[in-house]
Symmetry: C2
Subunit: 149 residues, 2 copies
């Protein structure tokens, strides 16, 4: 977790984005480090956890991190938590809490509320052209050389 | 949506990842296209929506897409839905449904269930070193030249 905090501090110093860092460890060894890069990369998905997952999978050339552990300096937002599930982690460690983040202006409660169905979604999701959209999925299903993940 | 379907088909043909495509439009003009790149980039976060958001924000040099609309060939997973919230979209269009995706092996129900608290989380989240982790957040809070987002 010390390294995750160092990463967070590095990001703050460089004005890369929010004050959050993360590290991924495999068999006791650091595989990748990362910090929030939303501002410097103009990428709203570049949270510390997403960044470190990208760094780790690029290094390991594998999109399955089930044999790794993730340390993040702050409790993950729903995007990062979902990314953690997609990357197949079994255990992660977090430092600061969602409340700590909200106290400095990084409040993900509105997204948790939408997903927990406690509030009406503020983004309108409109269905459109389902039939056309299913077609590439059917092609994929019949494809012999596909990689299922 | 036609372009989103074309992107999905392109991804299937190239074996880049799952059969999903997306497009971002601003003032009636296409800003960015993208498709699922999980396999080709070894990146479990490279879903079509995350990919197209990255492409659009890189092009527009701005992490706020509130004046854009997103078309995705399939209903977003919780990671992508959260990314859509972080990117500040107001309206998005989706084609195929979560059930269509589940039918070909892309089932995000387990993550929705965790977030909706319908099931016990399968990933263990363990708190650790909160005090140390809050420190870079305090530094950031006092920083004069920070970019709040």
């Amino acid at each position: 977790m010390k390294i995750a905090v160092q990463e967070a501090a590095k990001g703050v110093k460089a004005n890369d984005g929010g004050p959050f860092g993360a590290v991924i460890v495999k068999n006791g060894k650091v595989v990748a480090r990362g910090h929030n890069m939303v501002v410097i990369s103009n990428d709203p998905t570049a949270h510390a956890e997403v960044t470190v997952i990208r760094n780790a999978t690029a290094k390991l050339k594998c999109f399955d991190l089930s044999d790794c552990e993730l340390y993040t300096s702050c409790e993950p937002c729903p995007m990062c938590l979902s990314a953690i599930y997609w990357a197949k982690f079994k255990k992660i460690y977090f430092g600061a809490t969602r409340k700590d983040a909200a106290n400095i202006g990084f409040d993900d409660k509105f997204i948790y509320d939408v997903l927990e169905k406690n509030t009406k979604p503020s983004v309108v999701l409109k269905p459109l052209d389902r039939k056309e959209c299913v077609k590439p999925m059917d092609v994929w299903k019949k494809k012999i050389d596909k990689v299922q993940y």
